[in-house]
Point group: C2
Chain length 117, copies 2
DNA sequence: CGGTATCCAATCAGATACTG
DNA sequence: CAGTATCTGATTGGATACCG
């Protein structure tokens, strides 16, 4: 187990629903990763390209954490060169509800940003 | 302007709704803070007590950031001892939509956690 | 009460090199 | 291609002291 795999389960994790959700999707990158995987399963480098400025090391760590939380699956095809595909589980797909609300709220905010200029 | 007041607006901030939302509510504490303020306006120490293990310094920094993003207002009553009240703006209250979905998702997850034992 | 300033430890995160 | 290992700098966050 690497250093990043130790997912901190914050206090109140079992009892507070908001904390429970944040323990899975919290952090800078996880929602962005899930957002990309909602469209289609992706290979490591393709995912990296789409998420943006994330480093290889960080992306690996985030994906391992999401795997451990049952959000994504990692399928390794034993060929050369390697082919690893990341895919949302059923649970992972259910996070689309969260993303939708974030999207709606963000769209409104952007609208207001542009009106103020 | 203190060090923590420099809010990093990530790349794609203006165009990607998810990133736009995360730039406001992302981070370990902001959603938990907003969650408490949704119930009622709170004074600094009361808020600190409810949010949990957050340090004074961090809470201050998060509140300043939320203020700068138009999510909370800070009202100082000039009496002794000081009385500072934090309150959600209309925009801040609109984040309740986000919190609701996080709550719903978290409740389901907790349900599944307990069934597996 | 509600902060700010300072110091320091822990953690995060990028760059680079290397590998099955 | 999809990682891991290592080193290093940046950032976060706690503890403490002090202040209006």
């Amino acid at each position: 187990m690497t250093e990043q795999n130790v997912i901190d389960k914050p206090e109140g994790y079992f009892t507070c629903p908001v904390r429970r959700t944040l323990s899975v999707v919290g952090g800078k990158w996880k929602l962005l990763i899930i957002n990309e995987l909602l469209v289609s399963p992706l290979r490591f480098n393709e995912l990296k390209r789409r998420v943006g400025k994330i480093s290889q090391r960080l992306l690996t760590a985030q994906l391992r954490a999401l795997e451990e939380d049952g959000i994504v699956t990692r399928e390794v095809k034993n060929i050369m060169p390697p082919h690893v595909e990341y895919r949302l589980t059923t649970q992972g797909q259910s996070i689309s509800e969260v993303i939708e609300v974030l999207t709606t709220w963000g769209e409104k905010a952007i609208e207001q940003d542009t009106q103020q200029q």
